[in-house]
Assembly symmetry: C2
Homo-oligomer: 549 residues x 2
């Protein structure tokens, strides 16, 4: 044994490197406050070639003053960085690769920029580390992708660097923690620098620099769905979900994905759900962003609690006036937190329901389609059966089909799809586009969003397939039975379908006591954004683009 | 549509109720500081019958001044509370039930108190809500088990209630966040109240009261294993793991469970691993508490990073002197965090390895044995294949056996067991004791720790079964082939075993080039606690009970 073998000069190279960065940037700072007009030079002084840079950019809020400034640095000074980012959502994110400032990216979602990204990949201007769910990417920030630089945003800071992130907490504390405690430099753009914060969300001890942005950080109203666009098929599917899934399994704690299918369900609770006598029995506790379409259910007394990943533009005053429902601080504004809400969505609730763009005959589904390298954000984290779960609930146990001594329950993972998309394109397909996208982009596995064996229920306008009850060929037959007039649907054999219906494996509306005639927009608790504002007593303040009055 | 149906008097009943509690307790407080000598009365003023009380008590640190005080309240005033606690580890935790102060418990682990707990359950003095992994319990604190009261501990506080949790962060910020933003009252016992904190870990904005404890909070050196107790069989198994799993699959990021099996592996890296030329190729990034047995590997340059759930008694100065390895703050002391480390363990690393007490022929395993209602802590969260994972790595992909277009990799979940426990009791059994324990205690499912279908490799002193390669009967045969002289092992058929070995499904030491003759204690990099102190250059300061000099 010898402690000398492998001895090294220093065990503090990382703090020393950080001290050098900070010393270089001090020319552009007054204490913890960086000069806004010298931000580009400050970033050049702080960032070294090849650094891992965690840039806050998610499906809603964006550290856009910092990303715009980063795109302006001199590539001779800063190049080849590895960008860690939740959502590649802005033009300048890809300019970083165009200009050679960044080379490699680890990310979760690239919706609006996915076409350009595919092009940069083909031109060898960009390398993909991997595509993650949000919390996988954060997890690796505590393992082997620890950031040397964190660029994040907050509402306000004080002179000591204490931060108020306000209602849109989202990823900020997680990224800051990963960098701050691994000798990374934490730089925060803020809308304002103030003397006294309404509350401290992140302590100044974790922050190196704050900089006042040229304008408030960018934020998108991503979770707002105008009820005007909800059609009769979505209402029919919503009725089936309430009747055939929420009521049947006693679902009290749940998460809804984004989309008109789930918005329809939210707006049916105070009408159709009420008529069925389900208030207080289902849908009490939510892990969900503050969807405006949830307002009527809240106002009608359906909802006990909502914990949020982030906030939603226009919902601030409403949330502040409903402290019994939302998680709020002593100052009255909301506290959201993506990691805790994803944790709640994975381990704390019994049901995830979301829509998809394609599904194969085994129930595998994806929102990745040809030419689009979109990624999934958070859906796979909630849209799977979490095998690390050990506590039981009524809903979870109701999916237990085995009588083995070590049998257990499972999570309800519900996928809603209309059998055809706009333009008559079938949703049910032989092979997911994701398979070809993955092959073409050289991805190690196909970018499947939700795996078929994790899906417990598929809902279409034709009916519900209770997939958790069956395996193999019967599972395929159950999917075909609800796949309508698509080619997959046409493989359904009437006798087999009749048997599946008799055994409760497939249910059509009439099997559930749901009348398609009743499925009309008059059943929605709100039929417009204006209705939602009225329900909220004028507290909901929708963004201009959603106003029609 | 009517906003009037279901209208309610107030949407702020929770903040109002909190304000009342705080007003009642103000008689015992000076600002945010509660009087230590009136703590029992203060708790009586703050807690209402039936409250959900989150009491910080985990496998290491304990808010024991608060738990001892809580056990002294008048049950006529405070009764029927629902205790939310990670580890029911102290005598007074169960006194709460004996005295009627608490009625129901939601928990993760009850090691030292599990016998008494079973008795209280039988006497109908205690109800179990559910048994969780740590992070499932936290997840529900953001859904339907939001705490009205949080009783936690920290090293230091200032007069504004800002907290320094120091190296043992663990659960504290999570419990505080769940309570603080849902109108719960946050009460923190601290070792000291100071003018200036070394750093702020939790902002005072989230804290209602601090109270100076009668003595520093209790903390256990749970992750210290004396190398003196590592035997030749554990060394042999450790060599097989390094050769047959870590090297073969290229495992760079990993988590080790507690135990002598994994301590042996840690101590073999600088000797056996070095000889195999594996330094830098395996075991670089760890999600792990600061195990003292990892010191020789760190000193020999094997380890790039260690992120921790909590700290370990005696490791403070060593960690402070190795800031390149551990996550530390600007003040030099460690920042741990159980949620982020569990997240890293679930989604960020490729391998979990742990020991168990019993395994059935399908590979299901449990540490719950007759008469003991122990629970599992964090193991199931890391000891399963996380189906929400979407990013690939070399190790993860190496377990992909299917050629389907939607095939994916999987996590390495390794279980190590000696075929017989002390006293000749077989580890491999027909039916887990957990099945009977579950039935007797009226649990909805049997308390299985790791499910067989999540286990990728089983390692015994006989060899390794590569379970991920096989299903059904072949899987059972592979387990039997390494189950030695147990009844299950005796069902192995020599011809079948020979075939499994030829196909790489089972490997015995000779198949791996591992010589049992070499497996002796002389191969350990440290053979005593004293050796570990020497390796650390005198920085590791073991607790008295581990000192023999």
């Amino acid at each position: 044994m010898s402690a000398v073998d492998g001895a090294r000069q220093s065990w503090a190279t990382l703090p020393a490197r950080k001290a050098l960065r900070i010393a270089r940037a001090s020319a552009y700072a007054d204490g913890r406050i960086l000069r806004s007009d010298r931000i580009v030079e400050a970033l050049e002084a702080l960032i070294e070639p090849g650094d891992r840079v965690a840039l806050e950019g998610n499906n809603q809020k964006q550290a856009d003053f910092l990303s715009r400034s980063l795109a302006m640095v001199d590539p001779a000074k800063v190049h080849g960085i590895n960008l860690l980012i939740s959502t590649l959502g802005r033009r300048e994110h890809l300019d970083l690769f165009e200009r050679g400032i960044a080379r490699r990216v680890d990310f979760s979602f690239a919706g609006p920029q996915s076409l350009r990204m595919a092009q940069l990949l083909e031109d060898d201007k960009l390398e993909i580390g991997a595509i993650y769910t949000y919390i996988e990417l954060y997890a690796r920030m505590f393992v082997d992708l620890t950031p040397q630089i964190a660029l994040v945003c907050a509402e306000q800071a004080d002179a000591e660097g204490n931060l108020y992130t306000g209602a849109n907490t989202e990823d900020t504390p997680t990224i800051v923690e990963a960098a701050a405690f691994r000798h990374g430099v934490v730089i925060v753009q803020v809308n304002e620098i103030v003397d006294k914060l309404p509350r401290v969300d992140i302590p100044g001890s974790w922050v190196d620099f704050v900089v006042k942005a040229d304008r408030p950080y960018a934020v998108e109203p991503l979770f707002t769905r105008d009820p005007r666009h909800i059609g009769d098929l979505q209402i029919l599917m919503g009725m089936m979900v309430i009747r055939g899934i929420y009521e049947r399994h006693g679902v009290t704690a749940l998460n809804h994905g984004i989309g008109f299918d789930t918005a329809a369900i939210e707006l049916l609770l105070p009408t159709y759900g009420e008529k069925l006598g389900l208030k207080g029995k289902i849908c009490r506790n939510w892990a969900l962003n503050p969807h405006p379409t949830l307002i009527p259910a809240i106002e009608s007394g359906w909802v006990e609690s909502v914990h949020c990943f982030g906030s939603e533009v226009g919902m601030g005053e409403y949330i502040r006036a409903r402290p019994d429902i939302f998680f709020v601080g002593r100052d009255g504004s909301m506290r959201s937190n993506r990691v805790f809400c994803q944790l709640a969505g994975q381990y704390g609730v019994d049901l995830f329901i979301g829509s998809t763009l394609q599904m194969d005959r085994d129930g595998n589904s994806s929102t990745v389609t040809l030419g689009r390298l979109a990624g999934f954000g958070g859906a796979p984290n909630m849209g799977h059966d979490p095998r690390g779960r050990r506590h039981a609930s009524e809903a979870w146990l109701s999916l237990m089909t085995s009588t083995e001594p070590v049998a257990r329950g499972r999570k309800l993972v519900v996928q809603t799809v209309e059998t055809f998309k706009a333009g008559g394109i079938p949703t049910f397909v032989e092979t997911l586009d994701a398979v070809e996208v993955g092959r073409k982009s050289g991805m190690p596995i196909a970018p499947v969003m939700i795996y078929g064996d994790d899906v417990s229920h598929v809902v279409t306008e034709e009916g519900i397939a209770y997939l958790y009850k069956v395996d193999g060929e019967e599972r395929r037959a159950a999917i075909a039975a609800v796949a309508g007039a698509t080619e997959i649907g046409q493989t359904a054999k009437p006798k087999v379908t009749a048997d599946l219906r008799a055994r409760g494996i497939v249910a059509y509306p009439e099997d559930l006591g749901v009348s398609p005639l009743e499925a009309s927009r008059s059943l929605l608790a709100a039929r417009s954004i204006d209705d939602l504002v009225t329900w909220s007593g004028g507290l909901y303040d929708p963004p201009a683009r959603f106003r029609s009055w």
